[in-house]
């Protein structure tokens, strides 16, 4: 078995950790059923079950105030891990400790110190303005009215929310709703934030606003944040440290910079040409990823990027050119297919 790579990250005394997972594992029992009626009948008579290890032997610790990105392809075990950290599911093996408590016991003391934001689920009451949901949360968390008003005002200002708090949730845009969700999730001023895709489906502007809010919040309150996102921009902007999980195992734990350099030594260059060209025309510039008519995608090593882009522009009839990092899913996919990390 392969241990996680630790790069640029030194162990500090374990006592200080606010989140600690040790040998964490979760195995699901799923029905092994073939499709169709025959499969269903056979399953009914002869029930077979299979064990699926969603998470295996994951260990890490996070210190107060850290902003950590949690990366992995769909189904890699991110959500399962987050649910174990918040106490929503019980680990099959290993131990978890968050804010000095065992999450699965769901003690009030623990629940008052954490929050979970899920991009695809909402807690605000659909037909009412966010303020009504906030009032409910204030009561549930035992925040006095005066204090809760003060906190709402402060967070609303940080989130640039105003009148939206008085409009029914169903009439808000997705971006406004997400900001209101964040406000509701942070009213009790949790010390540890678990954010599962908080920018899912937001437009670029709204994403940027949520991002700057999270950075601001982390600085202002010293809160610890564990963030999963499909948008690499969220991770690059916010997370000095990332955890990478693949097929249920912790694959990497360290700085984002080292990870991207290692995982994506190349950048992606998209070209739009005047006239289509064959793949052989690009061989001297970089690796051809795809050619669709007049559009070409190339992978060019970071250190030669400027030089090669210059050559491309000089040599070919280029209509448009853009440079980007390949999507994180691609980076991770390539990595595991190539077995580049030994």
């Amino acid at each position: 078995m392969q241990g996680p790579h630790r790069v640029g990250f030194a162990f500090k005394p374990v006592r200080m950790a606010i989140v600690r997972a040790q040998g964490l594992g979760k195995t699901y029992r799923v029905a092994d059923k073939r499709p169709g009626l025959a499969g269903t009948l056979r399953h009914f008579v002869n029930r077979r079950e299979r064990l699926i290890a969603a998470v295996q032997d994951v260990s890490f610790s996070i210190e107060p105030g850290e902003f950590v990105g949690f990366l992995g392809a769909n189904g890699a075990g991110k959500t399962t891990t987050l649910k174990m950290l918040t106490g929503l599911i019980h680990p099959t093996s290993g131990t978890v400790e968050v804010a000095g408590c065992q999450p699965q016991r769901r003690e009030a003391d623990f629940l008052g110190q954490i929050t979970l934001v899920m991009g695809q689920k909402q807690q605000l009451i659909w037909d009412l303005p966010p303020l009504d949901s906030l009032r409910v949360n204030a009561a549930v968390y035992g925040i006095p009215p005066e204090e809760s008003r003060r906190r709402i005002a402060e967070l609303a200002e940080m989130l640039e929310l105003g009148d939206e708090l008085r409009r029914p949730v169903r009439k808000l845009s997705l971006g406004q709703r997400m900001k209101a969700e964040l406000l509701a999730a942070l009213l009790h001023r949790p010390a540890v934030l678990f954010l599962d895709e908080p920018t899912l489906g937001l437009d670029v502007n709204a994403q940027a606003r949520v991002r700057s809010f999270l950075a601001d919040y982390n600085r202002r309150f010293g809160a610890t944040v564990l963030l999963t996102s499909h948008y690499m921009a969220d991770i690059t902007a916010l997370c000095p440290r990332v955890l990478l999980i693949h097929e249920g195992r912790l694959f990497y734990d360290g700085s984002l910079e080292t990870l991207t350099q290692r995982l994506a030594p190349c950048r992606e260059v998209r070209l739009e040409l005047h006239a289509p060209l064959g793949a052989e025309a690009f061989a001297s510039y970089g690796e051809v990823e795809a050619i669709e008519g007049r559009e070409v995608r190339l992978l060019i090593p970071r250190e030669r990027l400027t030089e090669q882009v210059g050559r491309l522009l000089a040599d070919l009839a280029v209509v448009d050119l853009s440079v980007s990092d390949p999507p994180i899913e691609d980076i991770i996919g390539r990595l595991f297919h190539q077995g580049a990390v030994a």
């Binding site: 599911i89 629940l111 037909d127 035992g142």
Partner: protein, 262 residues
């Protein structure tokens, strides 16, 4: 305890605000409930037309039973139905996670989150009918009788709540449990009549299996001042037992949810 009370207040204010957007509902509900009640009284009167009686109950006594039933229906529409029917939705959409992450009892949250005013006409009509029929039946408003009546009504509500909650909580395994609560609701219709009006087999079923007897007949007996000690004790015991079972069942269901959900 204080936190639960203040939370309850906020819960109900929030849901009232949401519901009162639809004021016409109130009138419609009042008319529908009154219509239903008139229909039930008519059906009941058919039994008594030729001087017969229903299971040994006088006309006024049977009206008290019907009053208790109407009152329960009102409470069902106000609290049970709006709250417990959302458990299924919570399980399906995964928003149960948010409930479980709140530092408050999850059963309390799920059972008391919403207050729908549309059952209030039923509660008022039921209470009115109980008062009128009890007065016609010559029941004395002695303090002890009132106390016993109040206790048995509370017991009846707790039993109904627990039954319903257990069924709704089963949605953690069977997400389409909604039909089962409909079945429960139709079985409870039997509570319109005194339990002694049914044949012996059904009577046993309605007493020991689905405790319909404790829902309407026993409270009615208490209101009429006829409840005997053993029945009062049994009513209290069944209520306490149901409540304990519902709490235990919820913890059990949650253990399953928290070890199986993804």
């Amino acid at each position: 305890m204080g936190r639960y009370l203040s939370t309850l207040r906020i819960f109900w204010i929030a849901s009232l605000t949401a519901e009162l957007e639809y004021k016409a509902n109130f009138v419609i509900e009042l008319v529908a409930t009154a219509g239903n009640l008139v229909g039930s009284i008519f059906v009941l009167s058919l039994f008594y037309r030729r001087g017969q009686s229903l299971g040994g109950w006088s006309w006024e006594g049977a009206l008290v039973v019907l009053g208790v039933y109407t009152l329960l229906e009102g409470v069902t529409s106000t609290l049970l139905q709006p709250n417990l029917s959302t458990i299924v939705a919570h399980v399906r959409t995964g928003s149960l996670d948010f409930v479980l992450l709140k530092p408050i009892d999850s059963q309390f949250w799920l059972s008391a989150r919403t207050f729908s005013p549309w059952g209030l006409p039923g509660i008022a009509l039921g209470a009115g009918l109980i008062g009128y029929a009890a007065w016609k039946a010559g029941a004395s408003p002695a303090p002890l009788t009132l106390l016993a009546a109040a206790l048995m009504l509370v017991a009846s509500l707790l039993i109904l709540y627990s039954l319903w909650f257990v069924l709704a909580a089963s949605s953690i395994w069977f997400v389409k449990i909604w039909n089962a609560t409909e079945v429960l609701r139709s079985v409870l219709v039997a509570g319109r009549f005194p339990v002694s009006a049914f044949p012996a087999g059904l009577r046993a079923f309605f007493t020991f299996v689905v405790p319909v007897a404790f829902l309407t007949t026993v409270p009615a007996e208490a209101i009429l001042g006829r409840a005997t000690g053993p029945w009062l004790l049994a009513g209290g015991a069944v209520a306490a037992g149901s409540l304990v079972v519902s709490r235990w069942f919820w913890q059990f269901a949650l253990r399953f949810y928290t070890s199986a959900s993804s």
